[in-house]
Amino acid sequence: MSTPARKRLMRDFKRLQQDPPAGISGAPQDNNIMLWNAVIFGPDDSPWDGGTFKLALQYSEDYPNKAPTVRFVSRMFHPNIYADGSICLDILQNQWSPIYDVAAILTSIQSLLCDPNPNSPANSEAARAFSENKREYNRRVREIVEQSWNAD
């Protein structure tokens, strides 16, 4: 069945294939365009460099008027990412707008990795390390990067 949400997601997918931004990739599952898998590569020249982080995006029929639910599947250590992988990012919550396609969402999350927002901590340990002990923070991030190579 072709609903406005599904039609839009097809166009999101086409655009992502034709013009993929650097360091991200994503595709809907074979039998379900409402459920996407994506990978974000850790930005160069950052402690995240070399990491490959998996995410799941769940869309509803309210898309593009409502944001998808986005969650890291890979384990993360980041001030704005909860233990269950969900992400505290304004554009996924109250600042959502239909101008964000899959590529824009993933790009925003990618830049969040290196540029945490200390005003909305989701992981207090990571938030504290980020603001008080950068060395420890970077060490924990490197651990997460290494884990990302081994995980399924």
């Binding site: 655009r15 005003n119 909305s120 938030a127």
Partner: protein, 304 residues
């Protein structure tokens, strides 16, 4: 957001999450998304009480609302009732300006069957499309919203067939899949106009929100539910070439003793408007869209 006294939960919840997340790890179980889910549940419950666009009510219903309230307001409503006969309320969900504009505009077209106006606005809509393209927006992110607005225009002025009924217009305005798309269309148009003329809007935005044009569009125009201010109204009016009158109902009073109700006409600055009829001192503009502004909220007014 709007009608702040009706949602006292929001600021408290936010700040306590913020502070406690540092102090107490248990709080990290309460995610922003949970808080927002709860918040939107409260809103939805509240909003369910009033449709996106209400029924036309006599102005006396406004008076009844302030029965035991400020005498200045009652006085002003009396003045208002000399010129206006009715009010149509819109839901206070942050989209009330756009929603009021939508209904008021489409209702005017339906009643006037002004074919020339439809042709004119379609040309402006095409310009808005080019503006967004020029700003680098991907077509597929906004084209559905544009298409839906054009569809609404064509359903109120159909040419040969009979247009939709007035009741059908009300039904559509209350249907989220139509109403929210049209609101979003206006948000795109408004954002495009502000970005295109960023030099013009910059000082107003700086005064209003202390932010850059880019930030303002991203956080206060493009997301649904963000309230509108004079910057939004100016931009939308200019982009579509539609004048808008806003009548202000607040507690301010003038020194001269007599109570008067202020209004401001937003007159499009674009070249499409017939300059002679708007700028010459003798002839006053008379916008067919009249909105009633009470601090934080817009509704639709009907002239006598």
């Amino acid at each position: 957001m709007e009608n702040q006294d009706e949602i006292p939960v929001e600021p408290e919840t936010e700040s306590s999450t913020f502070i406690s997340a540092y102090e107490d790890d248990d709080w990290s179980n309460y995610k922003d998304s949970d808080v927002m889910l709860q918040q939107s549940a409260i809103w939805e419950e509240d909003a369910a009480k009033s449709p996106f666009v209400g029924d036309k009510e006599p102005l006396s219903s406004l008076e009844a609302e302030y029965k035991s309230g400020s005498p200045i307001l009652l006085e002003k409503i009396k003045v208002l009732s000399e010129h206006y006969a009715a009010i149509r309320r819109t839901r206070g969900d942050g989209n009330c300006f756009f929603r009021s504009f939508m209904f008021s505009y489409l209702e005017h077209l339906l009643e006037s069957q002004d074919v020339a106006e439809v042709e004119r606005i379609k040309r402006n809509v095409e310009k808005c499309r080019k503006t967004l393209q020029g700003l680098g927006y991907a077509d597929f992110t906004f084209e559905d919203f544009f298409a839906l607005f054009i569809e609404q225009l064509e359903s109120v002025i159909t040419g040969n067939e009979a247009p939709i009924s007035h009741d059908e217009l009300v039904v559509r305005s209350r249907d989220q899949s139509v109403s929210d798309y049209v609101v979003m269309f206006f948000r795109f148009v408004t954002s495009g106009e502000i970005r295109k003329r960023s030099e013009f809007f910059e000082p107003f935005i700086f005064g209003l929100a202390n932010s850059t044009v880019e930030q303002f569009c991203k956080t206060s125009v493009e997301p649904m539910g963000e309230e509108s201010d004079h910057v939004h109204i100016t931009a939308l009016s200019d982009a579509l070439g539609v004048p808008i009158r806003v009548v202000y109902l607040d507690r301010s009073s003038c020194d001269s003793g007599g109570v008067s109700v202020n209004h401001h006409d937003f007159v499009p600055a674009c070249d499409e408007v017939d300059k002679a009829s708007t700028s010459s001192s003798g002839s006053e503009t008379n916008p067919f869209i009249v909105l009633l502004y009470r601090p934080g909220h817009y509704d639709i007014l009907y002239r006598k």
